[in-house]
């Protein structure tokens, strides 16, 4: 028997972090591609200014997120696993068209399916570091300063810019696929609603009462973490 249950998945900070990061990355993409002279919205000068300000915002957010991941052991969510990986791929490419159920169960302890683990780990360890590191080099790029301050001439500006743009393209592709994949939950919008409210409707095979794993409010966050 199938039934749906409301499960508390995303904690308050996690949701704030997610949406702030989404907004910043989209804004950085717009201003960044304006600096690249692909689009024209704010004008080059404003775009540069906004891009720099937003990038500082993103880096502050990333620092908080790293701290949060370490402090609450949330980084374990991204440890890659082979278990169910093929089943997950099979589900997205075949099973979901047949109306088969998700191969992985989503809980507060295990929010990510094996495919998500892999891709989000790539996002965190590859895509974001590429743009952040090259972005910092870009930001502080100087050849030689008359006041003898900073010299970064070991890296050509072109290579820094090319890697930065490469990271940006990866992030955009990630964004497109990621937004689409949110529609593959129980309903088209259940995943997005979960990221807004924290609660997700989840299909369960059994009709057992799961309300015990569903804390009433954010105050119960720490309790679930300790489980």
């Amino acid at each position: 028997m199938k039934s749906t249950n409301k499960v508390y998945i995303y904690k308050r900070f996690e949701r704030f972090w997610h949406w702030a990061q989404a907004a910043l990355i989209i804004f950085l993409a717009i201003t960044g591609f304006e600096i690249h002279d692909s689009i024209n919205i704010f004008g080059f000068e404003k775009a540069v200014e906004f891009h720099r300000d937003a990038s500082i915002g993103l880096m502050i957010l990333i620092i908080f997120a790293i701290f949060w991941h370490l402090a609450f052991d949330a980084w374990r969510q991204y440890i890659p696993t082979q278990k169910n990986l093929l089943a997950q791929i099979r589900f997205y490419t075949y099973g979901m068209f047949k109306g088969e159920p998700h191969p992985t169960e989503k809980t507060a302890l295990q929010k990510l399916n094996p495919l998500q683990r892999l891709i989000y780990l790539g996002f965190k360890l590859f895509m974001i570091p590429i743009v952040v590191v090259t972005g910092l080099l870009y930001m502080f790029y100087k050849t030689i300063d008359v006041n003898n301050v900073v010299v970064i001439s070991h890296f050509k500006l072109e290579s820094i810019a090319v890697w930065h743009t490469f990271g940006a393209f990866l992030l955009i592709v990630f964004l497109i696929v990621h937004v689409y994949m949110t529609t593959t939950g129980h309903t088209y919008t259940s995943n997005i609603k979960a990221m807004i409210t924290g609660y997700e409707e989840i299909e369960t095979e059994t009709s057992g009462d799961e309300s015990t794993t569903t804390p009433d409010s954010d105050e119960a966050d720490n309790l679930t973490e300790k489980n």
Binding site: F44, E45, V146, A161, T165
Partner: protein
Amino acid sequence: MKNAILIIIGANLLLLILINVLKPTEVVNLEQEKLKQKYAVKPVASVDHSKLPALQKKFQTPQDVTKACNSCHTETHKEIMASAHWNWERAGYIEGHGIEFLGKKNVVNNYCIGAKTNEQACAKCHIGFGMFNNDNYNYSNQNNVDCMVCHDNSETYMKGASMTGYPDRTVNLEKVAQSVGLPMKSNCGSCHFYSGGGNNVKHGDLEEAQLNTTRDVDVHMAADGINLECVDCHTAENHQIKGKLYSVSSDHFNRAYCEDCHTSTPHLNEMLNTHTVRVSCQACHIPLYAKVNATKMDWKWSEAGKLKDGKAYETEDSMGNHDYMSIKGSFVWKKNIQPDYVWFNGTSDHYLVGDTINSIPVKINSLNGSHEDLNSKIIPVKINTGDQIYDTKYNYLIVPKLYAPEKGDSAFWEDFDWNTAAMAGMKRLGLPFSGEYDFVQTVMYWPVNHMVAPKEQSLSCSECHTRHDGRLAKLTGFYMPGRDRNTLLDTIGKWLIILSVAGVVIHNSIRIFTAWRQKKIEAKVINYHET
């Protein structure tokens, strides 16, 4: 209730932040204010020369004035006689040539070509008297120093045309001598505005309009602005004046910089300050030059010598400037010009008399520098093109004799015969002339340093940081954000985006289709059971 209070506090905070972010900030640049204060106070002379007994007399010759000057300023002539203004040359090191003494005395240009053989006329811009068309000028005669041309403050002194450097006969020497003081714009301008044979011909950024102009034309010299004199920036220690132009100079030495007053970090915006490492101030702050009167951009000597009814003639362009003169050839004049831009490290190379022509157009001077050279900056330049006479057999440029007081003395401006003019000119230079000549394309680079615009008119970022037709489009080899991109990466990126969108759309279509079919099957199954 608690929530409502929180919302109100939150909304107010947000509003405060927004107001602060969106409010245009008017921050005063204190360094700029200090400069304004400094230069608002104009110097007052400590001596009124009209009260000096030594100057209360009738001067028969301009040399008498110099002697009177020397009676008090007993050693000053030594400073003068060590200057490029007097010697028409200055020691310089040129890569490939070694140490050369370069100056008006011996350089070639693509305007009136060369001063040698034409001294009698060219001496109008020499700070001395009595220079004729020969090599006999006595550079050690202190009485021939012309103090007045630089220090006349009565604005009545002028040198006569083709008078070997002597003042015009109408000049009242007593009045001039009693007026002397610090050089004014009109003193420097009497030569530097009219070089090349007319107002603004050579420089393009130095011309008579700057004697009385507005901030739109030149923020520094504007009468309605800080109204600086040339010597406020081009200061002089012992008459050795700071700053020089690379049409005659070659060394990165004793240059006048904007940074001397404005520092290398003049902006309140850090992003702009980082530019000053590789971009000169002039590049952004002189968006246009020749803003009031036109300047010559092209001079074709090959067309000189045409006569109408056996007589020399002239024609004018729409702006009223000569576009053809029998004695000089045809010209192109332009106004409100966007400068060209080059990398420049403060040293330059020159075509020296007798050098073999090895590339066309012949670079009369070339500014050294490149994006790879950390000491190079991007500077604005005026590029003057044209053609001029050269010896086809010996393959070098010819300095022709242009001026003579009358016909029959080999001067081109009198006789219109290139052969005799070239012969006479090259004889003076001590170089052979084969008798065969033609005209060769030449090019010359003139850094543009004046006519600084008000900051509101300085270049916007996107005038350079743009993919198409930016001002720096010709300067390639380095990466500039907004202009340059890796086309391969951009193509890959574009296709990645297209493919991911397509993939998403296809995936979703299959989902919708299979779901629709599933429903149909389920409906059929149910129907089957019901019947």
